[in-house]
Assembly symmetry: C2
Homo-oligomer: 250 residues x 2
Amino acid sequence: MDNPVLRLVRPPSLVEAAVARLTDAIVSGEFKAGQRLVEIDLAAMLGISRAPLREALRTLSKEGLVEMRRGRGAIVASPTDDEVEHMILFRALVEGAAARLIAFHRDKRVLSHLTAILGQLEEASARGRHDAFLKHVWNFHGVLCAESGNPFLAQAWGIAGNVTRLYLQRAVSRIDLAAALSNHRAIHRAVCTMQPAEAESMVRSLIIRLAYELLGREVPQSIGDYVNPRYKAASTTSGEPKPAKRGARS
Amino acid sequence: MDNPVLRLVRPPSLVEAAVARLTDAIVSGEFKAGQRLVEIDLAAMLGISRAPLREALRTLSKEGLVEMRRGRGAIVASPTDDEVEHMILFRALVEGAAARLIAFHRDKRVLSHLTAILGQLEEASARGRHDAFLKHVWNFHGVLCAESGNPFLAQAWGIAGNVTRLYLQRAVSRIDLAAALSNHRAIHRAVCTMQPAEAESMVRSLIIRLAYELLGREVPQSIGDYVNPRYKAASTTSGEPKPAKRGARS
DNA sequence: GCATCGAAAATTGTCGACAGTATGCAGCCG
DNA sequence: CGGCTGCATACTGTCGACAATTTTCGATGC
């Protein structure tokens, strides 16, 4: 009766379409960070009126992609290094927990989904396609959270993931594809082969190491013991690997 | 020049006012869970038009207070027990991390703020004021996250906190004020006196124990080792405290 | 030359109305 | 008597216009 094969795909509302299109424009760099978004102009570009556009902007604002300033319009969000640092802790928490859940349930479909994305990462890395790599990386982490089974983790990824995307877009040229690939192989291995608690600890550690290295800051003391020295992440710096400052685990 | 003391409070936009009023109506139980929210009626009640009301509804939807069904209007959200269980893990992660940061920074102003709220909790508990207690509890956890210094933790609390409020509103009569007060004293002690890592572990453990007890479910195996048996939370069940199933810490 | 003021332009906040879609009900057929 | 069909109703999705606010920019005085 309600055979899903026959179900029509209904045209998305103008609000949804605008959110999708604007998200793409922002994370792709088509709209520059800090750029002012004038409602009437955007509406004209999208071919819609201001009412649905304003709802779309409000949605984007909740997702951290634009900043709404009372009475003075919206601008494209531009995360500072400090905000990125806060984001790292948050992502480490969220994705670590997601990894734990995935490692606990060991769902075949989910694991093979992640394997498939890892394959795309390897291909993009081999071909040196930075922007394709970026897109697949983002997808990898998104799937990790979305498939964890906990809707709050998925929603939390929605917030942090967009800021991640904005930041990576800016730093895309500095990314060492080989090192990043190695790290994502390690994450994949963790959720596929490890005990839940180990997988969580490992993923958390990997995310913090990789992110702080890209940010060019030291892992702060306040979360130093989130980084488990037993699992050394591949380093993007070719020089000598510096020993961890604090060796204690929790 | 821009002395904050002299700054005028500008009248909130209709959208903000509507969000505030509707949030209050929903978490206070004035609007029942699952109740349909007809735009034209709500707009008339609030004395505004549908445009700002729709933006307010979209905001509430992102905060988890209402559910928007494409083309069929919005309804008041009603979290299921399964959703509440997912929320518990999420809150344990977020508030645990917030406790770690607060314990790390030991900011006098923040600690005394928490102390003040704890005092309000004690007063409400002594007078048996369930709803006042509830409001102060919600405030306590909100301040914990908001003052952590990490805006992502604060935003995450915005999501989980509202669902918490909805759930507690429903379960308010079952809450053992004395036990809950004891647990919040413990959380307060943790962030004021403990090392950051210990405070995180303790708060995480307390939240999970308290929440699962209220929910009437067992702590699932997948996160069993989040509950640190060294810190036994006050129990709302008067009977013998059951020993922890799994003793290992991370 | 520089800060200040004020009018004009640009832009956001809000509203009422229309079009398209979902819902509920009455009537019809089996 | 139960279920399907088609219509009336109610509601959401979208639009264009007006009011209020902010920004821009040139004129004025020091």
